[in-house]
């Protein structure tokens, strides 16, 4: 009985996400058609490139790993009533921390711990500003993202640059790289770490006292306070756990992505995951398990984009267009009801 109710609670959000994805695909097809491309060919190669071969699937899962982790950052925030959009900058710091630490300790665990630690540390100022100064986290995390961009750029270009390759930082030493799951592909242990993190966060958020406190603070801050929950503590934990997963995302990118195992010029290979993670989280309904699925979906879009560009000659930026439309569709309140109403009116 209880299970049935619980399942019913999941059906509607899942249906709304699926509808948003369909709307994104449909409007994307219209844009393609208006621009003179063939939507059929574009979507065929998108799917073939991301799911049509072992390499494609490996690339899809590999791309999804950092997205799942940055989505969790946003999701924990959202569940605790905070708009934490600071994952972007934290990813840069996670990546550079892993590079710095593994230069001295040539061990994958050291790199992972460095990412976790720096992620928690970089999340703290925004948390403190929020709790003790009432600074809105949207503003502070956007500011910290830019500060992170410039500071990590400086570290990458002026301190930890690769003397043999001006286009990237020092690489992660071979002994500290994450082992590949499938030889010859880009799929590494970073994916397993992302899935494990999602499961751990799920357990913490739904099956521990801390998680209960965090969620109650998000749902009804006043009731939480009456119930003896300290909202300041909740906000700080929310930022810190979120910072850890984003830091892990950055460390995972540089430690688990062949061939470069480094940060490339202009932070190009670590840029954008924090922002994309917000979309992943929204489509996954801010739920760690939903995020695993939407993370793989967004990973597939990004992995299939290259094949779409090569074979259907559609610029790969098209994918961002589809993602943007999906997110705007998710933002429409009561999307399903709105659609049902339109449909019923059509019948009458």
């Amino acid at each position: 009985m209880n299970l049935k109710n619980e399942l019913r609670g999941y059906v509607k959000p899942v249906a709304e996400s699926v509808l948003a994805i369909l709307i994104g695909a449909f409007i994307g097809a219209l844009v393609l058609w208006f621009s003179g491309y063939s939507p059929g060919s574009a979507y065929y190669w998108l799917i073939k490139g991301s799911l049509g071969s072992t390499d494609g699937i490996a690339e899809t899962l590999s791309k999804s790993a950092p997205l799942i982790l940055t989505a969790i950052t946003f999701a924990i925030g959202a569940r605790t009533g905070l708009f934490n959009i600071g994952a972007e900058g934290t990813v840069y710091f996670g990546a550079i921390a892993a590079i710095i630490v593994t230069q001295y300790l040539q061990n994958p665990l050291a790199g992972i711990l460095a990412g976790l630690f720096i992620g928690a540390l970089w999340a703290l100022p925004a948390a403190v500003l929020k709790v003790y100064r009432g600074v809105h986290e949207v503003i502070s995390t956007i500011m910290f993202n830019w500060i992170a961009f410039f500071l990590v750029s400086w570290l990458a270009v002026s301190v930890y640059y690769n003397p043999k390759d001006p286009n990237s930082t020092l690489p992660i030493p071979p002994g500290a790289r994450l082992p590949l799951l499938v030889k010859g592909t880009s799929l590494s242990w970073a994916f397993i770490i992302a899935i494990l993190s999602a499961v751990v966060v799920f357990v913490v958020m739904w099956h521990t006292k801390l998680g209960y406190e965090l969620r109650t603070s998000g749902q009804n801050p006043r009731a939480a306070e009456y119930g003896g929950i300290n909202p300041k503590r909740s906000a700080i934990w929310s930022f810190v756990i979120g910072g850890m997963t984003a830091g892990l995302a950055g460390a995972g990118i540089v430690m688990g992505t062949p061939p470069s195992y480094a940060i490339t010029q202009g932070l190009a290979n670590v840029y954008g995951y924090g922002f994309d993670g917000i979309g992943v989280s929204l489509v996954g309904r801010n739920h760690p398990l939903g995020i695993i699925f939407s993370g793989i979906l967004f990973g597939a879009l990004s992995a299939g984009a290259t094949a779409m560009q090569q074979h259907a000659h559609v610029p790969l930026e098209m994918i961002k267009v589809i993602e943007g439309i999906i997110i705007i569709a998710v933002a429409v309140p009561g999307l399903l009801d709105l659609f049902a109403r339109l449909f019923r009116r059509g019948e009458a």
Binding site: L129, F144, W146, V332
Partner: protein, 303 residues
């Protein structure tokens, strides 16, 4: 630093001030009415692209500016319907719009002009400067226009009944409603004004200041404008000053980058972080307390 450098730094700061100021002034008006929009980056992208397209079709830069305003307005209608009338979340549509903007402009440059990542706007579709010297320093007519917009916005917001109502629906929509003010209409109007101003700012990037459309043309200015809005304490005139400061730091970082002696002592990246650090300090209330309108970002539903 000699006189020529000072002039060049000053003019560069004024040019960089325009897009940030226009977008922030719009954001001030929108948030004074209680509507948060973090999608200005996306609006800047779209209007830079379409502004250039319209300017080229008409062979006139000013058509591009108007076209940019129109495109901004369209996104304002979308955001207004979602937030004001459907009572949806204020932050999420902006995130979607930003992502859409980055994708669509990069896609559009390839699909429309057939070039990868960048398109030069021909000179007949650009706005001619008011004044220019032999060293390539120039002053755009958009600079005085922006200053005028700041003054008008301040006057309208704080000295007219229309402005009073805008502020009322952001500060206390219940009381405004009880007085017979149409809360939704005023909020919607404020969103439209804000989006149109961001549209002008975006078109300015492509058909005036930079003279080119690139796939990252907004370069974070939509977010910088939001920071500047907070910095200004939601005041259009101070937002104009703040935008000048941001513009100055922007130019100063480039100046350090190009100066071998200074580049060795201070990394330019440190200078580039200054506007964000200063904003954080201001927002934290260390210099002065910033307080947003009470109902900022909250949907208003009549009981």
């Amino acid at each position: 630093m000699n006189e020529a450098m000072v002039i060049s730094l000053l003019l560069g700061s004024l040019a960089a001030m325009v897009p940030i100021a226009l977008t922030s002034i719009g954001a001030v008006i929108s948030e004074r009415a209680g509507v948060v929009n973090i999608g200005y980056e996306g609006i800047l992208m779209f209007s830079a692209f379409f502004g250039a397209m319209f300017a080229e079709l008409a062979g006139n830069g000013w058509v591009g500016i108007l076209g940019g305003a129109f495109i901004g307005l369209l996104f304002g209608v979308l955001h207004g319907i979602l937030t004001v009338y459907l009572k949806g979340d204020h932050v999420i549509p902006g995130i979607g719009l930003n992502l859409l903007g980055y994708g669509a402009v990069a896609f559009g440059i390839r699909a429309y002009w057939g070039t990868a990542g960048q398109h030069q706007v021909p000179s007949n579709a650009q706005i001619s400067p008011l004044w220019m010297d032999a060293f390539g320093n120039s002053l755009s007519p958009m600079v005085p226009i922006t200053i005028a917009v700041a003054i008008i916005a301040w006057w309208v917001l704080f000295k007219t009944p229309f402005g009073l109502r805008i502020r009322a629906v952001g500060e206390n929509p219940e009381a405004a409603d009880a007085l017979g003010i149409n809360v939704e209409l005023y909020r919607f109007t404020a969103v439209l004004i804000a989006s149109a101003l961001a549209g002008v700012a975006g078109a300015y990037l492509s058909v005036d200041w930079l003279g080119t459309v690139t796939k990252q043309i907004a370069a974070g200015r939509g977010f910088i404008a939001l920071a500047n809005m907070v910095f200004s304490g939601w005041n259009p005139i101070i937002a104009l000053g703040g935008a000048f400061l941001f513009g100055f730091f922007d130019n100063f970082a480039i100046y350090i980058q190009n100066n071998p002696w200074l580049a060795g002592t201070i990394p330019w990246q440190f200078i580039a972080t200054l506007p964000y650090v200063v904003t954080l300090i201001v927002v934290a209330g260390i210099i002065g307390k910033a307080r947003p309108p009470k109902w900022d970002g909250r949907p208003y539903k009549r009981e």
